[in-house]
Symmetry: C2
Subunit: 293 residues, 2 copies
């Protein structure tokens, strides 16, 4: 099976590296060729366009930035579908629009190409360690064919339903994180203002009914004023925008998500887009009269 | 050490039962005597007022409904402080106002009485099993004296600081839960509307960065339309009201908490006050055009 790979950023590069390590023959393309150099030195063959990647691959993985990038890379004149032969498979791992995933699957099916939407969670660390959670939408037989490849970097890999179901599951994940982060920041802000020892507070509230991964991991980082990503605020803002747009399309009101998105937009306005999601705490500090600069 | 106990509701009764089982002599009072019957049959001595409980006790525990009840039972003409001898100790375990806890501690100190605020989390189940988390504010020597009694029903028992620190910690806990529940309900509502299998969604998002006790326990209950408490919506509304008032007093804006409180008030408006906190899902169902009745 010949593998194509498009997108070699902080996630894509280590994921593609795992595929090479597993012994697959890989063709690669990315916007900035320098970011593919280490993969080339591991044996990946450079291609100048997504179309030429697809022309010499049985399955093509894409993991790029925004839905508009996915659309260009997959549906554009020099895109994957323009170059891929019937019987091939497209696996988009970008966190992107469920409705775009469905549109791509439909366009792919017209050419007898299978398409999976397969966004991941677990961050750059999960990508490096090959332990990403992968949420897959698309036909069962295509899922079964892709599984050995997905297992190169993912565990668990779960099929969630037909086209779009992977993206929808990822949106559910981000919606859950959004308000959980509001809770983390507000509870620590309250505890700080009340004069409590914040580590002791997390010791107590971080087990039991208030417990979450976010309070126990990102909450501890907030206490140390460690705002390194983790997961970038700018990417989270993208994801929340997609979730709100999809929810609006489904006529679904999600006021908590909308509130969280507004605060993260405020973080962007303050130039905090490069911080991890726990950087939300700094927005709350400023809002509450605690200048930090 | 002679123990007094005031308040024998769903929490107080089993907690006091553990104290009796440990062999302490207990005097008891509660608003509705019938609710103390089983404790009387275990050997507790009935008293007609909090004052008379205090008159024959070295330490008095109170766990009643609202801050106004705490104030009446502790500071009223027939209250604990009116009856207690110097050297005694008051332990209020009601989830109540931090500022009231500080006021009671000050009034108690005037009479050479030690006061602890010691709210709990862990629910009626934790009370029955003696595994409540107890968050304590007050002087260290009083904490040390109270510890053997608190261990009758609590584990872990943590001192969080001076008077009010126990209540403040409990507020941090409730603030964290409030927005986390918004996240749980919104992510499941989205997943449902997207046509996903909700149990499979929780399997995936309930581990990893979106994980919380709430999604894994209350989320599963929502899927089964199981809205039994757990923790009553009406009590949660009380707690959020206290937290918002205290935050306002500290000039601290907590918009996520305010939003959650509004939705839980909507739940009260719909007559859902007797459901568990996961009943928030029903408010979202109605808001989104999904009639359930």
């Amino acid at each position: 099976m010949r593998v194509g790979w498009i997108g070699t950023g902080v996630m894509g590069a280590p994921m593609c590296g795992h595929v090479l390590e597993a012994g697959y023959s890989v063709s690669v393309h990315t916007r900035t060729r320098a970011k593919a150099k280490s993969l080339e030195s591991q044996g990946a063959a450079w291609c100048d366009t997504p179309r030429s990647v697809a022309a010499q691959s049985d399955v093509v993985f894409t993991i790029v930035g925004y839905p508009v990038d996915v659309e260009a890379v997959v549906l554009g004149a020099d895109g994957v579908l323009a170059g891929m032969r019937p019987g091939g498979m497209l696996v988009d791992m970008t966190t992107s629009e469920p409705s775009l995933a469905m549109r791509m699957a439909s366009r792919a099916a017209d050419k007898d190409i299978a398409a999976l939407d397969a966004p991941v969670s677990g961050g750059d660390r999960g990508a490096r360690e090959g332990t990403l959670t992968i949420m897959v939408g698309g036909p069962e037989d295509a899922f079964d064919r892709a599984l050995p490849l997905l297992h190169c970097f993912g565990k668990p890999v779960r099929r969630m339903g037909e086209a779009g179901a992977g993206q929808h599951t990822k949106m559910s994940n981000q919606i859950l994180i959004a308000s959980t982060m509001i809770g983390v920041v507000e509870s620590l802000m309250y505890a700080m203002r009340a004069g409590l020892d914040l580590d002791r507070v997390i010791d107590v509230i971080g087990s039991g009914a208030a417990a979450s991964w976010s309070i126990n991991h990102l909450g501890r980082r907030i206490i140390r004023a460690d705002y390194d990503p983790g997961f970038f605020i700018k990417h989270f803002v993208k994801d929340m925008g997609i979730a709100l747009a999809e929810a609006g399309r489904m006529r679904l009101a999600l006021p908590g998500l909308a509130l969280a998105q507004q605060f993260y937009i405020a973080a962007m306005a303050e130039g905090l887009e490069g911080l991890g999601t726990q950087g939300l705490y700094r927005v709350y500090e400023r809002m509450n009269g605690l200048a930090v600069d």
